[in-house]
Amino acid sequence: MNIHEHQAKELLSSYGVTVPLGTVAFTPEEAGEAAASLMERTRGQMVLIKAQIHAGGRGKGRFREYPDAGLAGVNVVASGQTSLMRERMTELAEKMLGSTLVTVQTGPSGKVVNRVLLEAAADIAQELYVAIQLDRRIARPVLLASTEGGVEIEQVAAESPEKLHTEIIDPAVGIRAFQLRRLARRLGLSGKAAASYADLVENLVTAAGDLDTELLEINPLVINTSGQALALDAKLSFEDNALYRHPKIAELRDESEEEPAETLARKAGLNYVKLDGQIGCMVNGAGLAMATMDTVDHYGGSPANFLDVGGDTDEERVATGFRIITADPNVRGIFVNIFGGIVHCDVIAKGVLAATEQVGLSVPLVVRLEGTNVELGRRIIAESGLGVISATNMAEGARRIVELCR
């Protein structure tokens, strides 16, 4: 689960991580007011307005509604006068709020901006990068740090791996002071900056552990002109399996950032991922579901979705899955692929038929059943009179549905 930058900064700030002073705004008036107030509180003359969407690359992102206006996902206003600041920010927010921001990470369809963060600009001496995530090779979290603040970490890893520094976090003892000193040294920091950096990073490690983050990324982490380390941006994503022990964080979920069908499936306890093809797939088990999509693709079709109804699926889950698939207007055919092991095929067959009767079937449906009571299951499908096609294996089923959708 992802959250917005302003939420991430609030959370990190509660762990003692220094962040710029900022306020979130949902209307142009709030934005103007917040900017004016920041100016007075910091006695500064520069305020940033940052679009809050669950995607990176905002600084270089452009709004679809304002292609030529030079309006980015992050903009800065400099003014010596509070009233002018208020006016300019209200104008900017008016354009940004409700408009669609397209960045390298949003894809061409972009994301609608529903909130903006107003933030006092920092006086930056140096821009760095730091992240905490799991290293699957060693089954431990690692700290990744580089001097290349503002650059995507994959790019640093590919182009200048010598600038990427790693420290392993031992779950038994956490991050140690010597590791933080070493990291600061490798980044070329000394004196007050090195100490401030080590403090901030230690707080990040504590937050990552406490909050069960999947990724904690500060890009950039800056050292300001007085040698203090600040998290200028913050990206937190949380591990879904651990959300049960963080109810406050679960409340931060912004469903407007999610694919509606995926939200619906999640609430029904189904694993669903929307894709842009035409053949709806309903499968039991994640591996088999991926393999089914691949097989549809192999025979020249394109899968409309990933849907895992669970290894031990039942009639009701099959019916819910059906409703989600048929609600997708791109779907021109459906392939149900179930390996019923413990669950009997006749039960699944009845579930599929019940669901088609409930939802109504306007596209071709191929069902492949394998497992206990397979003959009975296939007979139920064949005798239903609903025109459902029964396939004896996965390859045949995929081929049939691809043909039927041509």
């Binding site: 069960d212 393999a291 990933f306 497992g371 996965m394």
Partner: protein
Amino acid sequence: MSILCGRDTRLMIQGLGRAGRFHAGQIIAYGTEVVGGVHPRRAGETERFSGETDHSGVQGRRDSFSVDLPIFSGVAEAVDATGANASLIFVPPPAAADSIMEAAEAGVELIVCITEGIPVNDMVEAKRYLQSRPSRLIGPNCPGVITPGECKIGIMPGYIHARGRVGVISRSGTLTYEAVYQLTNLGLGQTTALGIGGDPVNGTSFVDALELFEADPATEGVLMIGEIGGPAEEEAADYVRSHMTKPVAGFIAGLTAPPGKRMGHAGAIISGGQGTAQSKIEAFRRAGIEIAATPSEMGVAMAAALGR
């Protein structure tokens, strides 16, 4: 011969809720020697399992069974009383990692964890805890392990398996069933089939399992089923190239999976361009692994690798 489990396995079960009880019944029906269960609040009680024997399992038994399984307060007590050397875990996610550590502390040789949804940080700790102990963990988030005709420790349907020549290793449940069934129908059968689980942090890896199959005299070839996410398949390919003398066939799921999206399994995600199906298929190919183009051809690919 086989790996991990067989006739001398004495199994206990941690977590006897709805799923635990159902599968315990199936496992006993298959003919696995189940000696006890753990449930902190029901210590001293027994749980009765009775029903029809699954004749696809251990041969030469009566048509029905009735077993009164003793329940213990903890794993150490169960091991002391029964001599259990393997444990199967159905404990819900919040307490599952603790259950793994409890079994390891009690010296259980083989720990199989079925539970899906254990937080990563819990598994990082459990893995650290296991590091200094001799126990072997299979899973979590897996169907378990089976040596056909001898011992089933997991949730897989027994009847799709047959004793035979091939070792099966997989990150996915139902895709393993698909593969196993193809091997059975081709008359190749399995020595042992195990699911290593779909989570980003797990116990036994592909490499660990390959090593065991390479050393097992009955295993003539290995079928390996991987998927997107993480470096495990690439590591396995390196191992195959440098250490395996037996033929290996494989399949990788997720060629059509979009980057950055989790495909059902917690571990099945392409992140930062790493862990793509293409990269894994390439690694398999470089290691001389016979690749099944579609999942329907996994058995055939194994047959081809064995026939080379």
